[in-house]
Symmetry: C2
Subunit: 292 residues, 2 copies
Protein backbone atom coordinates (compact mmCIF):
# COMPACT_ATOMS: atom_id res chain seq x y z
CA UNK A 1 0.00 0.00 0.00
CA UNK A 2 1.35 3.41 -1.01
CA UNK A 3 0.46 6.55 0.91
CA UNK A 4 0.61 10.09 -0.44
CA UNK A 5 2.66 12.21 1.97
CA UNK A 6 3.56 15.81 1.19
CA UNK A 7 4.07 15.28 -2.52
CA UNK A 8 5.57 11.78 -2.45
CA UNK A 9 4.12 8.30 -2.71
CA UNK A 10 5.68 6.23 0.05
CA UNK A 11 5.18 2.71 1.45
CA UNK A 12 3.03 2.56 4.58
CA UNK A 13 6.04 2.02 6.86
CA UNK A 14 7.57 5.28 5.68
CA UNK A 15 4.34 7.25 5.99
CA UNK A 16 5.28 9.03 9.20
CA UNK A 17 5.05 12.51 10.69
CA UNK A 18 7.08 14.22 13.39
CA UNK A 19 5.94 13.78 16.99
CA UNK A 20 5.90 17.61 16.93
CA UNK A 21 3.33 17.73 14.14
CA UNK A 22 0.48 19.74 15.62
CA UNK A 23 -1.94 17.17 14.24
CA UNK A 24 -0.41 14.68 16.68
CA UNK A 25 0.05 17.18 19.54
CA UNK A 26 -3.39 18.81 19.46
CA UNK A 27 -5.54 17.37 16.65
CA UNK A 28 -4.74 20.66 14.88
CA UNK A 29 -5.96 19.70 11.43
CA UNK A 30 -8.81 18.70 9.15
CA UNK A 31 -9.77 15.63 7.20
CA UNK A 32 -12.18 14.36 4.57
CA UNK A 33 -13.35 10.86 3.74
CA UNK A 34 -14.55 10.23 0.19
CA UNK A 35 -16.06 7.20 -1.46
CA UNK A 36 -14.03 6.14 -4.50
CA UNK A 37 -15.95 4.12 -7.10
CA UNK A 38 -14.86 3.17 -10.59
CA UNK A 39 -11.56 4.87 -9.79
CA UNK A 40 -13.16 8.25 -9.14
CA UNK A 41 -13.77 10.05 -5.86
CA UNK A 42 -17.50 10.86 -5.50
CA UNK A 43 -18.32 14.55 -4.95
CA UNK A 44 -14.67 15.59 -4.92
CA UNK A 45 -15.52 19.28 -5.41
CA UNK A 46 -17.85 19.44 -2.40
CA UNK A 47 -15.37 17.71 -0.11
CA UNK A 48 -12.59 20.04 -1.26
CA UNK A 49 -14.81 23.06 -0.76
CA UNK A 50 -15.47 22.07 2.86
CA UNK A 51 -11.78 21.38 3.45
CA UNK A 52 -10.87 24.76 1.92
CA UNK A 53 -13.36 26.60 4.12
CA UNK A 54 -12.08 24.72 7.17
CA UNK A 55 -8.48 25.54 6.32
CA UNK A 56 -9.47 29.18 5.93
CA UNK A 57 -11.16 29.11 9.34
CA UNK A 58 -8.18 27.44 11.03
CA UNK A 59 -5.76 29.56 8.97
CA UNK A 60 -3.90 26.52 7.64
CA UNK A 61 -2.31 27.18 4.25
CA UNK A 62 -3.21 24.70 1.52
CA UNK A 63 0.00 23.10 0.20
CA UNK A 64 0.43 22.58 -3.57
CA UNK A 65 -1.96 24.07 -6.08
CA UNK A 66 -5.49 22.97 -5.18
CA UNK A 67 -5.92 21.70 -8.76
CA UNK A 68 -3.01 19.31 -8.20
CA UNK A 69 -4.73 17.54 -5.31
CA UNK A 70 -7.13 15.65 -7.54
CA UNK A 71 -4.20 14.39 -9.60
CA UNK A 72 -2.47 13.13 -6.44
CA UNK A 73 -5.66 11.28 -5.43
CA UNK A 74 -6.08 9.71 -8.86
CA UNK A 75 -2.44 8.64 -9.01
CA UNK A 76 -2.81 7.09 -5.55
CA UNK A 77 -5.86 5.10 -6.71
CA UNK A 78 -4.07 3.88 -9.86
CA UNK A 79 -0.80 3.01 -8.12
CA UNK A 80 -2.61 1.02 -5.44
CA UNK A 81 -5.06 -0.51 -7.94
CA UNK A 82 -7.94 0.36 -5.61
CA UNK A 83 -10.71 1.78 -7.81
CA UNK A 84 -13.31 0.89 -5.17
CA UNK A 85 -12.19 2.25 -1.81
CA UNK A 86 -12.39 5.04 0.72
CA UNK A 87 -10.02 7.94 0.31
CA UNK A 88 -8.96 9.79 3.43
CA UNK A 89 -7.28 13.20 3.15
CA UNK A 90 -5.66 14.67 6.22
CA UNK A 91 -4.34 18.24 6.37
CA UNK A 92 -2.58 19.22 9.58
CA UNK A 93 -0.87 22.47 10.53
CA UNK A 94 2.46 20.65 10.55
CA UNK A 95 5.34 21.10 12.96
CA UNK A 96 5.21 24.08 15.27
CA UNK A 97 6.59 25.24 18.58
CA UNK A 98 5.31 23.74 21.84
CA UNK A 99 2.21 25.51 23.03
CA UNK A 100 -1.18 26.38 21.59
CA UNK A 101 -0.14 29.37 19.51
CA UNK A 102 -0.14 28.39 15.83
CA UNK A 103 2.57 31.01 15.14
CA UNK A 104 5.54 29.68 13.22
CA UNK A 105 3.85 26.51 11.95
CA UNK A 106 4.05 27.31 8.25
CA UNK A 107 4.60 23.92 6.61
CA UNK A 108 1.33 21.95 6.66
CA UNK A 109 1.22 18.17 6.35
CA UNK A 110 -0.93 16.61 3.62
CA UNK A 111 -1.70 12.89 3.66
CA UNK A 112 -3.90 10.82 1.36
CA UNK A 113 -4.57 7.14 1.98
CA UNK A 114 -6.92 4.47 0.65
CA UNK A 115 -8.93 2.09 2.80
CA UNK A 116 -11.27 -0.85 2.28
CA UNK A 117 -14.94 0.10 2.00
CA UNK A 118 -17.16 -0.73 4.98
CA UNK A 119 -19.41 -2.77 2.69
CA UNK A 120 -22.64 -0.96 3.48
CA UNK A 121 -22.99 0.65 0.07
CA UNK A 122 -21.40 -2.16 -1.89
CA UNK A 123 -24.41 -4.29 -2.72
CA UNK A 124 -26.32 -1.24 -3.96
CA UNK A 125 -23.38 -0.12 -6.07
CA UNK A 126 -22.83 -3.58 -7.49
CA UNK A 127 -26.45 -4.13 -8.47
CA UNK A 128 -27.86 -2.67 -11.68
CA UNK A 129 -30.27 0.21 -11.15
CA UNK A 130 -33.46 -1.81 -11.03
CA UNK A 131 -32.32 -5.03 -9.38
CA UNK A 132 -33.36 -6.18 -5.95
CA UNK A 133 -30.02 -6.56 -4.23
CA UNK A 134 -29.98 -7.95 -0.69
CA UNK A 135 -31.09 -5.42 1.91
CA UNK A 136 -28.04 -4.02 3.73
CA UNK A 137 -27.73 -4.42 7.45
CA UNK A 138 -29.52 -1.75 9.49
CA UNK A 139 -27.76 -0.11 12.43
CA UNK A 140 -28.50 -0.31 16.12
CA UNK A 141 -28.13 3.24 17.47
CA UNK A 142 -27.65 4.59 20.96
CA UNK A 143 -27.52 8.15 22.25
CA UNK A 144 -24.07 8.86 23.71
CA UNK A 145 -23.38 10.68 26.94
CA UNK A 146 -21.07 13.31 25.39
CA UNK A 147 -22.45 16.72 24.48
CA UNK A 148 -21.31 18.88 21.57
CA UNK A 149 -21.33 22.65 22.19
CA UNK A 150 -24.56 24.05 20.73
CA UNK A 151 -23.90 26.53 17.92
CA UNK A 152 -20.16 25.78 17.88
CA UNK A 153 -18.59 27.53 14.85
CA UNK A 154 -15.97 24.76 14.66
CA UNK A 155 -18.70 22.16 14.16
CA UNK A 156 -19.04 23.20 10.51
CA UNK A 157 -15.63 21.72 9.70
CA UNK A 158 -14.35 18.16 9.79
CA UNK A 159 -11.55 18.77 12.26
CA UNK A 160 -9.17 16.22 13.76
CA UNK A 161 -10.65 16.83 17.25
CA UNK A 162 -12.85 13.75 17.42
CA UNK A 163 -12.73 12.45 20.98
CA UNK A 164 -16.45 13.01 21.66
CA UNK A 165 -17.23 10.97 18.54
CA UNK A 166 -14.71 8.26 19.47
CA UNK A 167 -16.00 7.92 23.02
CA UNK A 168 -19.64 7.97 21.92
CA UNK A 169 -18.88 5.24 19.37
CA UNK A 170 -17.07 3.21 22.04
CA UNK A 171 -20.12 3.57 24.33
CA UNK A 172 -22.37 2.37 21.50
CA UNK A 173 -20.16 -0.63 20.78
CA UNK A 174 -19.99 -1.50 24.47
CA UNK A 175 -23.81 -1.54 24.45
CA UNK A 176 -23.82 -3.88 21.45
CA UNK A 177 -24.85 -1.12 19.04
CA UNK A 178 -23.25 0.01 15.78
CA UNK A 179 -23.22 3.77 16.08
CA UNK A 180 -23.90 6.58 18.55
CA UNK A 181 -25.99 9.71 18.18
CA UNK A 182 -24.61 12.85 19.82
CA UNK A 183 -26.60 15.49 21.66
CA UNK A 184 -25.65 19.13 21.89
CA UNK A 185 -25.56 21.12 25.13
CA UNK A 186 -29.16 22.28 24.45
CA UNK A 187 -30.27 18.64 24.70
CA UNK A 188 -31.05 18.14 21.02
CA UNK A 189 -29.78 15.21 18.98
CA UNK A 190 -27.52 16.77 16.37
CA UNK A 191 -25.80 13.97 14.47
CA UNK A 192 -24.31 10.51 14.50
CA UNK A 193 -20.63 10.15 15.40
CA UNK A 194 -19.82 9.40 11.76
CA UNK A 195 -22.66 11.03 9.82
CA UNK A 196 -25.80 13.12 9.70
CA UNK A 197 -29.17 12.21 11.14
CA UNK A 198 -32.53 12.00 9.37
CA UNK A 199 -35.94 10.79 10.46
CA UNK A 200 -39.28 10.46 8.73
CA UNK A 201 -42.34 12.35 9.88
CA UNK A 202 -45.00 10.82 7.62
CA UNK A 203 -43.64 11.42 4.12
CA UNK A 204 -41.47 14.34 5.23
CA UNK A 205 -37.72 13.83 5.62
CA UNK A 206 -36.50 15.70 8.74
CA UNK A 207 -32.95 16.58 9.78
CA UNK A 208 -31.41 18.85 12.44
CA UNK A 209 -30.58 22.42 11.36
CA UNK A 210 -26.91 23.42 10.86
CA UNK A 211 -27.29 26.18 13.49
CA UNK A 212 -27.47 23.55 16.26
CA UNK A 213 -23.82 22.79 15.71
CA UNK A 214 -23.80 19.94 13.18
CA UNK A 215 -21.12 18.98 10.70
CA UNK A 216 -23.02 19.48 7.44
CA UNK A 217 -21.96 16.40 5.54
CA UNK A 218 -21.50 16.17 1.81
CA UNK A 219 -23.78 13.10 1.86
CA UNK A 220 -26.38 15.10 3.83
CA UNK A 221 -26.40 17.65 0.99
CA UNK A 222 -26.81 14.82 -1.55
CA UNK A 223 -29.76 13.40 0.42
CA UNK A 224 -31.43 16.82 0.37
CA UNK A 225 -30.75 17.03 -3.40
CA UNK A 226 -32.31 13.61 -3.95
CA UNK A 227 -35.37 14.60 -1.92
CA UNK A 228 -35.83 17.74 -4.02
CA UNK A 229 -35.38 15.74 -7.25
CA UNK A 230 -37.98 13.23 -6.12
CA UNK A 231 -40.33 15.91 -4.74
CA UNK A 232 -40.04 14.55 -1.22
CA UNK A 233 -40.67 17.31 1.31
CA UNK A 234 -37.87 18.18 3.71
CA UNK A 235 -37.92 19.96 7.06
CA UNK A 236 -35.09 21.06 9.35
CA UNK A 237 -36.10 20.58 12.98
CA UNK A 238 -34.63 20.11 16.42
CA UNK A 239 -35.37 16.80 18.06
CA UNK A 240 -34.78 15.41 21.54
CA UNK A 241 -33.74 11.79 22.16
CA UNK A 242 -37.15 10.78 23.54
CA UNK A 243 -39.01 12.28 20.61
CA UNK A 244 -36.60 10.65 18.16
CA UNK A 245 -37.28 7.22 19.67
CA UNK A 246 -40.96 7.66 18.84
CA UNK A 247 -40.33 8.36 15.12
CA UNK A 248 -41.29 5.81 12.49
CA UNK A 249 -37.97 5.56 10.73
CA UNK A 250 -34.49 6.98 11.20
CA UNK A 251 -31.45 6.92 8.96
CA UNK A 252 -27.89 8.18 8.94
CA UNK A 253 -25.97 9.57 5.94
CA UNK A 254 -22.22 9.30 5.62
CA UNK A 255 -19.71 9.37 2.78
CA UNK A 256 -18.25 5.97 3.51
CA UNK A 257 -21.52 4.05 3.56
CA UNK A 258 -24.14 6.30 1.95
CA UNK A 259 -27.56 5.99 3.59
CA UNK A 260 -27.88 3.51 6.46
CA UNK A 261 -31.26 2.86 8.01
CA UNK A 262 -31.55 2.45 11.78
CA UNK A 263 -32.96 -0.80 13.16
CA UNK A 264 -33.28 0.48 16.72
CA UNK A 265 -32.52 3.46 18.93
CA UNK A 266 -31.59 2.79 22.56
CA UNK A 267 -33.07 -0.70 22.18
CA UNK A 268 -36.41 0.48 20.83
CA UNK A 269 -37.18 -0.94 17.38
CA UNK A 270 -37.70 1.46 14.50
CA UNK A 271 -39.65 0.82 11.31
CA UNK A 272 -38.19 0.00 7.96
CA UNK A 273 -39.36 2.64 5.50
CA UNK A 274 -39.80 2.20 1.75
CA UNK A 275 -38.89 5.90 1.42
CA UNK A 276 -35.49 5.32 3.07
CA UNK A 277 -34.92 2.39 0.74
CA UNK A 278 -35.88 4.49 -2.28
CA UNK A 279 -33.42 7.22 -1.24
CA UNK A 280 -30.72 4.64 -0.55
CA UNK A 281 -31.05 3.18 -4.05
CA UNK A 282 -31.19 6.64 -5.58
CA UNK A 283 -28.00 7.54 -3.73
CA UNK A 284 -26.21 4.46 -5.07
CA UNK A 285 -27.48 5.20 -8.57
CA UNK A 286 -26.11 8.74 -8.32
CA UNK A 287 -22.71 7.50 -7.15
CA UNK A 288 -22.61 5.10 -10.10
CA UNK A 289 -23.73 7.76 -12.57
CA UNK A 290 -21.30 10.44 -11.42
CA UNK A 291 -18.30 8.09 -11.32
CA UNK A 292 -19.07 6.45 -14.64
Amino acid sequence: MLIFLNGRFVPEGQAVVSVFDRGFLYGDGLFETLRVFNGKPFRWAQHMERLRRGAGFLKIRLPFRPEAWRGFAEELIVRNQMPDALLRLTLSRGVGRRGYSPRGAELPTLVMSLHPTPGALDSDLAGSAGSESGAPRRWKLTTGSFRLPAGDPLAAFKTCNKLPQILARAEAEAAGADEALLLNTDGFVVEAASGNLFWLDGETVCTPPPAGGILPGVTRAVVLELCRAQEVSVREANVGPEELTRQQAVFVSLSSAGIVEAESLNGRLLQHSPLTEKLRRAYAALVRAETD
Copy 2:
Protein backbone atom coordinates in the same frame (compact mmCIF):
# COMPACT_ATOMS: atom_id res chain seq x y z
CA MET B 1 18.04 16.88 21.15
CA LEU B 2 16.94 13.34 22.03
CA ILE B 3 13.29 12.38 22.25
CA PHE B 4 11.88 9.44 24.20
CA LEU B 5 9.69 7.40 21.85
CA ASN B 6 8.16 4.08 22.92
CA GLY B 7 11.10 2.98 25.02
CA ARG B 8 13.94 4.37 22.91
CA PHE B 9 15.86 7.65 22.96
CA VAL B 10 16.02 8.89 19.37
CA PRO B 11 17.26 12.05 17.64
CA GLU B 12 14.52 14.55 16.81
CA GLY B 13 14.54 13.66 13.11
CA GLN B 14 13.73 10.04 13.94
CA ALA B 15 11.00 10.91 16.42
CA VAL B 16 8.10 10.08 14.14
CA VAL B 17 4.75 8.32 14.33
CA SER B 18 2.64 6.64 11.66
CA VAL B 19 0.17 8.82 9.76
CA PHE B 20 -2.35 6.22 11.02
CA ASP B 21 -1.57 6.95 14.67
CA ARG B 22 -4.95 7.93 16.10
CA GLY B 23 -3.29 10.85 17.83
CA PHE B 24 -2.63 12.30 14.37
CA LEU B 25 -5.96 11.17 12.87
CA TYR B 26 -8.29 12.31 15.66
CA GLY B 27 -6.35 13.84 18.56
CA ASP B 28 -7.06 10.50 20.29
CA GLY B 29 -4.65 10.91 23.17
CA LEU B 30 -3.61 12.77 26.30
CA PHE B 31 -0.67 14.90 27.33
CA GLU B 32 0.96 16.52 30.33
CA THR B 33 3.37 19.43 30.57
CA LEU B 34 5.64 19.55 33.62
CA ARG B 35 8.15 22.10 34.81
CA VAL B 36 11.58 20.55 35.28
CA PHE B 37 13.87 22.38 37.70
CA ASN B 38 17.17 21.24 39.13
CA GLY B 39 16.79 18.15 36.96
CA LYS B 40 13.53 17.11 38.60
CA PRO B 41 9.97 17.28 37.28
CA PHE B 42 7.81 19.30 39.69
CA ARG B 43 4.70 17.48 40.99
CA TRP B 44 5.37 14.37 38.92
CA ALA B 45 2.92 12.27 40.96
CA GLN B 46 -0.01 14.64 40.43
CA HIS B 47 0.58 14.90 36.69
CA MET B 48 0.85 11.10 36.42
CA GLU B 49 -2.32 10.67 38.43
CA ARG B 50 -4.25 12.92 36.04
CA LEU B 51 -2.79 11.12 33.04
CA ARG B 52 -3.69 7.75 34.56
CA ARG B 53 -7.26 8.82 35.21
CA GLY B 54 -7.50 10.19 31.67
CA ALA B 55 -6.13 6.99 30.18
CA GLY B 56 -8.68 5.05 32.23
CA PHE B 57 -11.48 7.25 30.92
CA LEU B 58 -10.33 6.96 27.30
CA LYS B 59 -9.49 3.26 27.83
CA ILE B 60 -5.92 3.71 26.61
CA ARG B 61 -3.57 1.16 28.13
CA LEU B 62 -0.49 2.61 29.85
CA PRO B 63 2.62 1.15 28.18
CA PHE B 64 5.59 0.06 30.37
CA ARG B 65 5.34 -0.17 34.12
CA PRO B 66 4.14 3.21 35.45
CA GLU B 67 7.13 3.26 37.83
CA ALA B 68 9.44 3.14 34.81
CA TRP B 69 8.09 6.39 33.36
CA ARG B 70 9.88 8.56 35.88
CA GLY B 71 13.15 6.83 35.03
CA PHE B 72 12.59 7.55 31.32
CA ALA B 73 11.96 11.22 32.10
CA GLU B 74 15.06 11.51 34.27
CA GLU B 75 17.24 9.78 31.69
CA LEU B 76 15.89 12.16 29.03
CA ILE B 77 16.80 15.17 31.20
CA VAL B 78 20.31 13.86 31.85
CA ARG B 79 21.00 12.82 28.26
CA ASN B 80 19.90 16.21 26.94
CA GLN B 81 21.60 18.09 29.79
CA MET B 82 18.44 20.13 30.31
CA PRO B 83 17.88 20.31 34.09
CA ASP B 84 15.76 23.46 33.66
CA ALA B 85 13.10 22.82 31.02
CA LEU B 86 9.55 21.85 30.26
CA LEU B 87 8.78 18.17 29.89
CA ARG B 88 5.96 17.17 27.60
CA LEU B 89 4.52 13.64 27.78
CA THR B 90 2.15 12.52 25.04
CA LEU B 91 0.20 9.26 25.19
CA SER B 92 -1.85 8.42 22.12
CA ARG B 93 -3.97 5.36 21.37
CA GLY B 94 -1.51 4.42 18.63
CA VAL B 95 -2.28 2.97 15.21
CA GLY B 96 -5.79 1.73 14.63
CA ARG B 97 -8.19 1.05 11.82
CA ARG B 98 -9.78 3.92 9.89
CA GLY B 99 -12.91 5.15 11.63
CA TYR B 100 -13.82 6.33 15.10
CA SER B 101 -14.05 2.96 16.79
CA PRO B 102 -11.03 2.47 19.06
CA ARG B 103 -11.28 -1.32 18.58
CA GLY B 104 -8.04 -2.95 17.57
CA ALA B 105 -5.77 -0.07 18.57
CA GLU B 106 -3.82 -1.88 21.27
CA LEU B 107 -0.33 -0.44 21.00
CA PRO B 108 -0.29 3.06 22.49
CA THR B 109 2.37 5.63 21.60
CA LEU B 110 4.34 7.28 24.40
CA VAL B 111 6.49 10.32 23.71
CA MET B 112 8.52 12.49 26.09
CA SER B 113 10.29 15.64 24.95
CA LEU B 114 12.02 18.60 26.58
CA HIS B 115 11.44 22.22 25.64
CA PRO B 116 12.84 25.60 26.62
CA THR B 117 11.01 27.30 29.49
CA PRO B 118 8.81 30.26 28.60
CA GLY B 119 10.78 32.47 31.00
CA ALA B 120 7.85 33.59 33.12
CA LEU B 121 8.86 31.67 36.23
CA ASP B 122 12.61 31.92 35.69
CA SER B 123 13.41 35.12 37.59
CA ASP B 124 11.47 33.89 40.62
CA LEU B 125 13.19 30.53 40.52
CA ALA B 126 16.62 32.10 40.10
CA GLY B 127 16.27 34.55 42.98
CA SER B 128 16.86 33.47 46.57
CA ALA B 129 13.71 33.23 48.65
CA GLY B 130 13.73 36.74 50.02
CA SER B 131 15.21 38.73 47.13
CA GLU B 132 13.33 41.28 45.05
CA SER B 133 13.75 39.86 41.58
CA GLY B 134 12.43 41.88 38.66
CA ALA B 135 8.64 41.70 38.33
CA PRO B 136 7.68 39.30 35.52
CA ARG B 137 5.65 40.54 32.61
CA ARG B 138 1.88 40.52 33.17
CA TRP B 139 -0.45 39.15 30.49
CA LYS B 140 -2.99 40.92 28.35
CA LEU B 141 -6.08 38.67 28.24
CA THR B 142 -9.06 38.52 25.94
CA THR B 143 -12.20 36.40 26.05
CA GLY B 144 -12.30 34.10 23.03
CA SER B 145 -15.35 33.39 20.89
CA PHE B 146 -15.20 29.59 21.28
CA ARG B 147 -17.38 27.89 23.86
CA LEU B 148 -16.50 24.76 25.81
CA PRO B 149 -19.40 22.38 26.57
CA ALA B 150 -20.60 23.09 30.13
CA GLY B 151 -20.15 20.11 32.42
CA ASP B 152 -18.22 18.12 29.79
CA PRO B 153 -16.82 14.95 31.43
CA LEU B 154 -13.88 15.06 28.98
CA ALA B 155 -12.87 18.49 30.30
CA ALA B 156 -11.33 16.87 33.37
CA PHE B 157 -8.54 15.37 31.27
CA LYS B 158 -5.76 16.98 29.27
CA THR B 159 -6.70 15.49 25.92
CA CYS B 160 -5.08 16.13 22.55
CA ASN B 161 -8.30 17.77 21.28
CA LYS B 162 -7.22 21.38 21.63
CA LEU B 163 -8.63 23.30 18.67
CA PRO B 164 -10.84 25.59 20.79
CA GLN B 165 -7.76 26.53 22.84
CA ILE B 166 -5.62 27.01 19.70
CA LEU B 167 -8.18 29.19 17.98
CA ALA B 168 -8.88 31.22 21.12
CA ARG B 169 -5.13 31.80 21.55
CA ALA B 170 -4.85 32.81 17.89
CA GLU B 171 -7.72 35.30 18.39
CA ALA B 172 -5.95 36.71 21.45
CA GLU B 173 -2.66 37.09 19.59
CA ALA B 174 -4.41 38.73 16.63
CA ALA B 175 -5.81 41.27 19.12
CA GLY B 176 -2.32 41.94 20.50
CA ALA B 177 -2.97 39.97 23.68
CA ASP B 178 -1.00 37.14 25.27
CA GLU B 179 -3.68 34.64 26.19
CA ALA B 180 -7.38 33.93 25.80
CA LEU B 181 -10.00 33.05 28.37
CA LEU B 182 -12.62 30.52 27.32
CA LEU B 183 -16.31 30.60 28.13
CA ASN B 184 -18.51 27.55 28.49
CA THR B 185 -21.89 27.13 26.81
CA ASP B 186 -23.58 28.51 29.95
CA GLY B 187 -21.76 31.81 29.38
CA PHE B 188 -19.34 31.52 32.30
CA VAL B 189 -15.61 32.06 31.99
CA VAL B 190 -14.08 28.68 32.82
CA GLU B 191 -10.36 28.87 32.14
CA ALA B 192 -7.52 30.26 30.09
CA ALA B 193 -6.46 28.36 26.97
CA SER B 194 -3.32 27.20 28.76
CA GLY B 195 -4.20 27.36 32.44
CA ASN B 196 -6.69 27.97 35.21
CA LEU B 197 -8.29 31.25 36.12
CA PHE B 198 -8.29 33.08 39.46
CA TRP B 199 -9.48 36.48 40.55
CA LEU B 200 -9.41 38.39 43.80
CA ASP B 201 -12.55 39.50 45.58
CA GLY B 202 -11.10 41.58 48.40
CA GLU B 203 -8.70 39.18 50.13
CA THR B 204 -10.54 36.09 48.85
CA VAL B 205 -9.05 34.08 46.00
CA CYS B 206 -11.82 32.96 43.63
CA THR B 207 -11.74 30.35 40.86
CA PRO B 208 -14.38 28.60 38.72
CA PRO B 209 -15.72 25.28 40.04
CA PRO B 210 -14.67 22.03 38.30
CA ALA B 211 -18.33 21.22 37.59
CA GLY B 212 -18.48 23.98 34.96
CA GLY B 213 -16.21 21.93 32.74
CA ILE B 214 -12.69 23.07 33.60
CA LEU B 215 -9.43 21.18 33.30
CA PRO B 216 -8.38 21.10 36.97
CA GLY B 217 -4.70 21.90 36.62
CA VAL B 218 -1.97 20.60 38.85
CA THR B 219 -0.84 24.20 39.34
CA ARG B 220 -4.42 25.17 40.29
CA ALA B 221 -4.26 22.57 43.05
CA VAL B 222 -0.91 23.98 44.21
CA VAL B 223 -2.36 27.51 44.31
CA LEU B 224 -5.21 26.26 46.50
CA GLU B 225 -2.65 24.49 48.73
CA LEU B 226 -0.63 27.70 49.07
CA CYS B 227 -3.75 29.68 49.95
CA ARG B 228 -4.62 27.19 52.69
CA ALA B 229 -1.05 27.25 54.01
CA GLN B 230 -1.10 31.04 54.13
CA GLU B 231 -4.65 31.20 55.53
CA VAL B 232 -5.94 33.01 52.47
CA SER B 233 -9.65 32.33 51.98
CA VAL B 234 -10.72 30.63 48.77
CA ARG B 235 -14.08 30.49 47.00
CA GLU B 236 -15.23 28.58 43.94
CA ALA B 237 -17.64 30.71 41.92
CA ASN B 238 -19.01 31.11 38.42
CA VAL B 239 -18.17 34.38 36.74
CA GLY B 240 -19.29 36.02 33.50
CA PRO B 241 -16.89 37.98 31.27
CA GLU B 242 -18.39 41.36 32.21
CA GLU B 243 -18.20 40.67 35.92
CA LEU B 244 -14.63 39.42 35.57
CA THR B 245 -13.58 42.67 33.89
CA ARG B 246 -14.74 44.55 37.00
CA GLN B 247 -12.58 42.51 39.39
CA GLN B 248 -9.53 44.06 41.05
CA ALA B 249 -6.99 41.51 40.05
CA VAL B 250 -6.90 38.37 37.90
CA PHE B 251 -4.26 35.71 37.48
CA VAL B 252 -3.72 32.49 35.56
CA SER B 253 -1.99 29.35 36.84
CA LEU B 254 -0.16 26.95 34.54
CA SER B 255 2.57 24.36 34.92
CA SER B 256 4.90 25.95 32.39
CA ALA B 257 4.89 29.45 33.89
CA GLY B 258 3.46 29.12 37.40
CA ILE B 259 1.31 32.11 38.40
CA VAL B 260 0.96 34.90 35.85
CA GLU B 261 -0.89 38.06 36.76
CA ALA B 262 -3.16 39.71 34.19
CA GLU B 263 -2.46 43.27 33.14
CA SER B 264 -5.73 43.73 31.28
CA LEU B 265 -8.84 41.89 30.16
CA ASN B 266 -10.38 42.85 26.83
CA GLY B 267 -8.40 46.10 26.96
CA ARG B 268 -9.55 47.08 30.44
CA LEU B 269 -6.68 47.47 32.90
CA LEU B 270 -6.60 45.28 35.99
CA GLN B 271 -4.86 46.01 39.25
CA HIS B 272 -1.59 44.57 40.39
CA SER B 273 -2.17 42.80 43.67
CA PRO B 274 0.38 42.22 46.45
CA LEU B 275 -1.51 38.99 47.21
CA THR B 276 -0.90 37.65 43.71
CA GLU B 277 2.75 38.54 44.04
CA LYS B 278 2.96 36.81 47.40
CA LEU B 279 1.42 33.63 45.93
CA ARG B 280 3.70 33.83 42.91
CA ARG B 281 6.81 33.96 45.08
CA ALA B 282 5.46 31.22 47.33
CA TYR B 283 4.87 29.08 44.25
CA ALA B 284 8.45 29.56 43.07
CA ALA B 285 9.75 28.81 46.55
CA LEU B 286 7.77 25.58 46.59
CA VAL B 287 9.13 24.53 43.18
CA ARG B 288 12.66 25.20 44.43
CA ALA B 289 12.06 23.34 47.69
CA GLU B 290 10.49 20.25 46.14
CA THR B 291 13.10 19.93 43.40
CA ASP B 292 16.04 20.53 45.71
